[in-house]
């Protein structure tokens, strides 16, 4: 059994940060980078499955620069068997669909039984990489999985989808499949110091686009959007003060609440 776990090293901004050049990007001095929280859950799900099966390989894959090696080392320390990092300068500003295209090239080579992604990354919050990747791979997919039962090599898995409002839908999905995993599905293990040290001895492949048979054109052609600029959000300008009596204010609050909580 082989389970591929695509992961991302996400960027968190310090409270004080600076934009570069009219919004082309953020000054890296103010950025802290970590393994994406959702990916700790998808990795854990993979490790639990291979642990239960007593066999199998868990492969962590990431599109990221040198620093992303840290995230992959964390995955190896936690128990992944192998890691693959893909990078090329052309990927600097790649959007979600371009990343999915590149990931697909790497994941395809692994012929996985399952691909487990996180629902979303905490910095870009696209929520789309997993399902886009599934489309490239031609794999059946379920998004936002909060429960998973799967036996190694099985042709189906039973999954729970976590819907809005605390509702769960149980579905069966044909396998091999790609699932996007929601936080809270399990309790991610941590790596002790020995495992962290030993992670450096596990295999980590570093691939460029050309190693995957892709070129820069492949990246730009698959992009879904172009980012014109980054800017700070409009400062609220303070609260909109709701005037009137307590009853009137309450009525307005009720409207706002119902409106926001719909959908």
């Amino acid at each position: 059994m082989r389970i591929v776990v695509p992961v991302k090293q996400v960027a968190a901004l310090d409270d004080e940060f600076e934009l570069l050049d009219d919004g082309a990007g953020v000054d890296p001095d103010f950025v802290e980078r970590d393994l994406n929280e959702w990916d700790t859950f998808s990795l854990e799900a993979a490790l639990l499955l291979s642990g239960a099966a007593g066999e199998g390989e868990v492969v962590a894959v990431s599109v990221g620069d040198d620093e992303a090696s840290e995230a992959l080392l964390t995955c190896l320390a936690k128990g992944a068997d192998r890691a693959v990092r893909i990078w090329d300068d052309a990927l600097q500003d790649a959007d979600v669909l371009s990343v999915a295209r590149v990931l697909a090239a790497a994941v395809e080579r692994e012929s996985p039984d399952l691909v487990l992604c996180g629902v979303q990354s905490s910095d870009a919050v696209n929520g789309a990489t997993g399902v886009a990747l599934a489309a490239h791979l031609g794999l059946p997919h379920v998004a936002v999985v909060s429960g998973l039962q799967y036996d190694a090599g099985s042709g189906t898995a039973m999954v729970e989808r976590e819907l809005e409002g605390g509702l769960i839908e149980v579905v069966t999905i044909r396998c091999p499949a790609l699932l996007t995993i929601q936080t809270g599905i399990n309790e991610p293990r941590y790596a002790n110091l020995r495992a962290i040290k030993q992670a450096r001895e596990k295999p980590m492949d570093e691939l460029a686009l050309s190693d995957l048979g892709l070129d820069d054109e492949a990246v730009t052609a698959t992009a879904g959007a172009r980012r014109r600029r980054l800017r700070p959000p409009e400062s609220g300008g303070g609260a909109e003060i709701i005037e009137g009596s307590s009853a009137e204010a309450a009525a307005r609050i009720a409207d706002i609440v119902k409106e926001r909580m719909s959908g």
Binding site: N126, I168, V171, L230
Partner: protein, 318 residues
């Protein structure tokens, strides 16, 4: 701009409110750029929803009857691919919802579309433009989609006003071969088990602070929270005083929350508290002190008596 295709969403026979918001969003584009608005609904009971979707501004409702009794992502994906192929819209709008996350990115890939998710603003400048959060909403990214005939945008729920007003859009059933599309099968629905309270998972927090004055007043707010469908959370003074467990504490040394709605009653907004909740989508604060710092991060503020407001609020929910 040839047209907008809105994809409505249903669940268990009910049309979800986000569908109306998408129509509202589509109308802002139509107002700016002209074109037609078609609303598609893919469901086993698609035709039953046609009437509710024929709102003012909608030019046509397209129904696709799904062979699956409930939402199935691959079925919806294939249906949407077919509709895009036949209608050739400039813009496709779906909600950024759990269901849509299951198919929209796949459609974007298979149909070679422009794409962005969790979009909070739309525009038109010789093609669609959109804005979404970046770095977890600390910044805003402005996007465009050069060279794309069709762009699919997943729109954040609550970002647009729902459309209202009856229209006269005709409904048309569209035939799509969907028989073998499904890759998953519905087993059952279930309510999620009530676990230990985890306020970081709540979509709606009713948060109380020192302004409630007395420990004995807490039960009324517990009841109000339940009525509103909110989870109760608190600021630190109530935990310091031992009135509430710190599992419900919002703030730097409690939990950081990012609900859709944060309704703060009697919370002044100490620095440590703001750090724990200022990223909430909609912050409504009620405090008797007009200088309370919480008003600097709130989207809506009421300067008044929180007990009166709470009591009045109760009657609006059941």
């Amino acid at each position: 701009m040839s047209g907008v295709l809105v994809v409505a969403e249903t669940r268990r026979g009910e049309l979800r409110d986000v569908s109306l918001e998408l129509i509202g969003a589509a109308r802002t584009v139509k107002d700016a750029a002209g074109g037609r608005i078609a609303v598609a609904v893919v469901a086993a009971d698609a035709e039953a929803h046609a009437g509710a979707l024929a709102l003012d501004g909608v030019d046509e409702v397209l129904t696709v009857t799904s062979p699956a009794p409930h939402f199935e992502p691959h079925v919806t994906q294939r249906a949407l691919e077919a509709l895009i192929g036949s209608e050739r819209p400039s813009l496709v709008l779906v909600g950024h919802t759990i269901d849509s996350l299951g198919f929209a990115p796949a459609v974007a890939v298979s149909a070679g579309l422009g794409f962005a998710s969790d979009v909070t603003a739309l525009g038109w400048d010789d093609g669609p433009t959109a804005a979404r959060g970046a770095y977890g909403d600390k910044l805003v990214a402005e996007l465009d989609f050069p060279g794309r005939e069709t762009t699919l945008l997943m729109v954040r729920a609550g970002a647009f006003e729902p459309a209202e007003g009856p229209g006269q859009a005709p409904a048309r059933a569209v035939d799509v071969e969907l028989g073998d599309a499904a890759a998953s099968e519905h087993v059952e629905f279930r309510e999620a088990a009530a676990g230990d309270v985890d306020i970081t998972k709540a979509d709606f927090l009713l948060s109380i602070g020192r302004g409630i004055e007395d420990k004995d007043n807490i039960p009324q707010f517990e009841e109000l929270a339940e009525k509103l469908g909110a989870t109760l959370s608190v600021s630190r003074p109530l935990v310091d005083a031992g009135w509430m467990s710190n599992a419900r504490q919002v703030g730097q040394s409690g939990k950081t929350v990012k609900p859709k709605v944060y309704l703060a009653l009697g919370i002044s907004g100490a620095v440590q508290h703001l750090a724990g909740m200022q990223k909430a989508d909609t912050i409504i604060a009620v405090n008797s002190d007009p200088e309370a710092p919480i008003f600097s991060v709130a989207h809506y503020g009421v300067v008044g008596d929180l007990f009166e407001v709470a009591e009045a609020l109760d009657s609006h929910f059941d």
